[in-house]
Symmetry: none
Subunit: 415 residues, 2 copies
Amino acid sequence: MKSASIISIGNELIHGQGIDTNSQYLAEKLFSMGVEIKAMYSVGDEVDSIVRILNNAVNNSELIFMTGGLGPTDDDVTRHALTAGLGVDLEFHQELLNQINEYFTRRNLTVPRRNKIQAYIPKGSRAIKNVVGTAPGIIGEFDGKLVFSMPGVPAEMHRMFEESVLPEIRRNIEAAERTVIVVRKLKCFGVGESTIAEKLGDMMRRGRNPEINSTAGGGVITLHIIAKAKTEDEAHGMALDDENRLKDILKEIVYGSGDETLAETIGLQLRKRGKTLAVAESCTGGALAESITNAPGSSDYFTYGWVTYSNEAKIKELAVEAELIQKEGAVSEKVALAMAAGAKKKSGAAYSIAITGIAGPAGGSEQKPVGLVYICINGEKHSDLQRFVFPLGRLPMRRRTVNTALNMLRMQLKI
Amino acid sequence: MKSASIISIGNELIHGQGIDTNSQYLAEKLFSMGVEIKAMYSVGDEVDSIVRILNNAVNNSELIFMTGGLGPTDDDVTRHALTAGLGVDLEFHQELLNQINEYFTRRNLTVPRRNKIQAYIPKGSRAIKNVVGTAPGIIGEFDGKLVFSMPGVPAEMHRMFEESVLPEIRRNIEAAERTVIVVRKLKCFGVGESTIAEKLGDMMRRGRNPEINSTAGGGVITLHIIAKAKTEDEAHGMALDDENRLKDILKEIVYGSGDETLAETIGLQLRKRGKTLAVAESCTGGALAESITNAPGSSDYFTYGWVTYSNEAKIKELAVEAELIQKEGAVSEKVALAMAAGAKKKSGAAYSIAITGIAGPAGGSEQKPVGLVYICINGEKHSDLQRFVFPLGRLPMRRRTVNTALNMLRMQLKI
């Protein structure tokens, strides 16, 4: 098994001003390819510190992945750390400067002088093309170990990793003898982590192969099935067997696999059936529509969304009766039903979802506490209405509400 | 200045299955106390790896903070790594077992046998009381360096750090000569990092005090002003002086300070003026409304939102003429203008924002590429319309578009 280390560079990391999502991204990608991560490091924008950490990583692993510090400013010192570590000089590459110039001219911008530094890479190393930003990546060799240096901006790094770095590592791993790790993920919604752990019992035992772990967020529980074997086929078969066992045990709690979101699951079903969806939301303020439309191609089934944040908007846009709001309150069972009916009628969609609640921190009362929310699904045959209290804080409450609404639609679609 | 390293322990970290918020929490706390973080490490649940990383940290810093691996299960090996590193044995402490038993009995639970391991700490080290969970923390001494080992559950770690570890470090720092660090943040939008660096020139020089760093995301650039002085007052004054200088140089590029978002900035202005806002979005699919309503109290100024994802919705809800869409296309200057006008008229709001574009990955053409977006602000006196191309990928494109739209409204509000 190939071993790797991940180094993220930036003062914002060691000052606690930003969270390092790049290392997690890389760790997950590498782990699922059967690469063993020895350690992950975060270090500031300082040549000596980077060189020290780089040497430590090189001594303990075969592949090293660095992110950050390739920008055009004075505190971007990764290229200098690489030259210091390698004991070589920086070398100017005209074709890299051409790419950088092209990036700016295509956007009708003048080329900032300081970006010229990004056309320099350590002697003997190779550049990796950046199709999204200006900073090329760098592939260098340290004592026979491969060092991949990529930009810190996540969108640039992801694209560069997927298109250029990943294929190179795959070739590298194929060449060596390998133990293959296959990771499959099952996505669950509707119960807590401990309930799932109880249902699975011995299957979640440490050291079992496949190993089964769980992580949780926004009410979604992800089960990671990690199978190890000599061949990809064998590992894949083991993971798949476990996946089927888990599905048998957990039944409708499982809504999908891989990185599938609840919005994607219902999107697939709606598209398959040729049905459309409209939403009317109050306390989630657009988060439900946003979650649905995060999925590419969602215009196939998602047609109308209303963010009726004011009472007036509920009345004018969704034909909720003013009297009803006055009598029952905007956050009530009957208003949720009326919003869903109004959205369905105005859009002509087969399904509508309506949400009304109190996200907080203000606006709660003893009878209607912060975190209270009514969700209504108005479907082809019937309406489902449910009341929840999610006293989680404003943003987690909104996220949990969106997922719960999507899950209610899933249950009505009987996926 | 005291130096520190942070080590987070857990297989979920090196497998990319969880994000390490503990290290960021500790880094921010320590940094604002004037402690210099040398490096942050993440390592799996394996004794040898932990010992190797611990030795590296001890060689390079005076204070070491570890989180994770103190639980009762077989894969919690931090206490074993500490004993291996220190070359001592584990020692049983009856008073720790009493605390653990008390934790369970207070909750009417039977004490799991495996939790007894948590009453063992390396010989010569001290336990730190855990008031939230069962795992006591451990303070050990490695070659005269202090090693603080804390649980990985964030709520337990935060409480232990605040109540027990922080006071101890403060005493430790007070005893030495101390430097106070004050961090202030300025939030900018409208130009790239390199343009800001050019404008600031020498102020962003490495080693300057205050030090000025920048981080970027979604088009928002955050300038971190890090002032070091003997007293809090002095550091605060230095940071404030620089903040004022930066505002003078960058003028309208600066939109706020601290953790303020663009949505919060415009929210403050709208509330102050008693004005309302409505939005009509197509390609951002609710993300603009969501961003605006993330701010607590946004119902004071945000009233109506439309996610007119289909052409029919644009026509029926916003009174965009069907012929116009047919002639110009849904993604066009004129449709953006019509959407903004329709949203303003129907809502009666003082300001409206309309967005129409192509988020991709599909739907682009040579004339109208993926990433193309038209944004229109319909204000009290005039409308602003701008065309952008953000070829960043679906989700980053949506995020950049939302921020750009909010910034256009900010400029019209002349904040």
